[in-house]
Symmetry: C2
Subunit: 389 residues, 2 copies
Amino acid sequence: MTKHTIEFLPDNITVTVDKGENLLSAAAEAGVYIHAYCGGDGVCGKCKVVVDEGEVHSSKSNLKQEDWDKGFRLACLSTVESDLKVTIPEMTTKSGKALKRKPKTTRTISAKSLDTLIGTWEVDPPVSKIYLELDPPTMEDNISDMQRVMRGIKLVMPGDSREPSYDHPELIKHLPRVLRESDWKITLLLLRGKNKGETFRIIDVEAGNTTKRLYGLAVDIGTTTCSGVLVDLNTGKIIAEASGYNGQISFGEDVISRIIYAARPGGLKALQDKVIETINTIIDDICRKMIISPSDISYIMAAGNTVMSHLLLGLDPKYIRESPYVPSVSQFPLTKAAGLGIHAHPSMRLFLYPCIASYVGGDIVAGVHACQMAKSEEVSLFIDIGTNG
Amino acid sequence: MTKHTIEFLPDNITVTVDKGENLLSAAAEAGVYIHAYCGGDGVCGKCKVVVDEGEVHSSKSNLKQEDWDKGFRLACLSTVESDLKVTIPEMTTKSGKALKRKPKTTRTISAKSLDTLIGTWEVDPPVSKIYLELDPPTMEDNISDMQRVMRGIKLVMPGDSREPSYDHPELIKHLPRVLRESDWKITLLLLRGKNKGETFRIIDVEAGNTTKRLYGLAVDIGTTTCSGVLVDLNTGKIIAEASGYNGQISFGEDVISRIIYAARPGGLKALQDKVIETINTIIDDICRKMIISPSDISYIMAAGNTVMSHLLLGLDPKYIRESPYVPSVSQFPLTKAAGLGIHAHPSMRLFLYPCIASYVGGDIVAGVHACQMAKSEEVSLFIDIGTNG
């Protein structure tokens, strides 16, 4: 396919795209912010650009004749037909200027000092570690490696007579090597069963005693801003924070425009990739600060509104916008984060707060949960003010 | 990397390989059978070939001086250094000749007539289907698609108050589309929980009523021969059979030589690929006969000795051969067959019969299970005669 090069001014950012590519998508690909409130639907008329050199196919739509004559075009309704020089006028990038700066935390109270406001929490994470020193096999005791591990677990946790399940095939592929390299001294990472009375699941095995290293990450997936805090799951203490703008913002500013963008060819995947990229930047920031690896994080809890939650999992959000406004899922199952492209250990699970309905999301549920208002005798109201950006 | 072409005579089979490739591996890649009893360890001296043209690097090992002078070389100890013409003498391919023919079934009693010998079985497969006609969502009833399905299940199966789990993310990605395309009339494929009292799992959703189509495949993974039977899980009747030689045979004839071959670079993967290829041929044969698709098969039960079971799952079998003879796993967890490369629906599970020890495998366990000797009051002995090939 023929390729064309576009130079975006005034920032002199260059990108090469296929002939026929949509100009708004090309800008997003280049990381050039264009204000497109309606998500590229040709309705809001905000994504005005000037084509200085080269040729585009473009519809006029609701662009004023005066603007059209001056050389303005709507990026979302233009396709690339040759090499281009395109100027992004200040009005088109205005709201975006601020977005080039690192966001301040959107919280007026830092997560670390939240305890004093909402009371303390019992530390009872869904993942835990146990350290085992196993007897090496002999001719008299040559049960399989996995049976040896199960026997070791029973000695330490004699309560449950049923064997735990384990991640497959990842775990059994590594187990024999880890056992022998660690001289049969290992740490297991365990995931609690979903329902009460269900057996737990072994999701990782590490050489030696690593029980002191157990981290969880909480992520707030906002339509505008995403932020994350790293929690030491042995103590419950917050030990690092980071945040960044949700990268989806260049595809539309509110949830409706994101839903519209998701309906384009490749749109859903592009939106999912952008929020994953944002979360990865947060993870990388935190890991750099703490000098740990992303694979040291053993659990992620995330919350977002219903559209953000669907986009994170790559679920088509279109029925959320159409009457009778039905989400695909409201109680999200545990997801392997690495499977989504998140920088994480392959067996690390991501918990996404459940939604109540299409427009009452997991962000609200998480807020209600976090402030523990359910414990109050009195009728209480939870208000999520949001960015209103 | 430099490539060289090898022509194998007398069958005029040509293959192109990297310079330095092992000649036995090159022959296996070309599908040319060379008798290599020891699995390419340079010990058995069976893989004698004559290099007619071109150059190999070769060790003499235990090859007689007389043979060496005649131009014989051991394929397993030779590397390709130029384009080659290589003759496989009749003695080297002798045992292999028979292998080019389709194997007869190794059973003297066909699976279909086995009932009369061992008595009947209760039909109680681990997978089942239920058909649901759901109410479409309205403004008054706009719960999420997945909640609607869960509510539908509860109406049909009121016993269990807990929600079933489901395959993720496959199921929720397809569900909204299938629901709407089928006018909210769907069939769910359910997998029974592993432990008693565990909830079942939804592993697939199909449009319309497909409850009459429910097939299971049983596969015997022999070191020499593999065979499969297709069972109608609604009736318990065997409806098709197929078999073929285990493709691993060109890497060694018995389990010890396979273990040795698995220790070579890429050896484990090559052995796994070969048995998967064999199973796929059986599946394709059966599906052609029955005019069904491999994705119509809802469950696979397989049995093999401990080495065959490890190789199928891609587990290194080396500790099975070294004192104190320890397998990595003896109770294999359910595996997604498509993840191994088997022609199957992505959510289809493969059950592999558990092993007792390194040299008492799942084939024995399956035999003991199938003949129901545990029901007998008397002490009984089960003998698996095997191919002894």
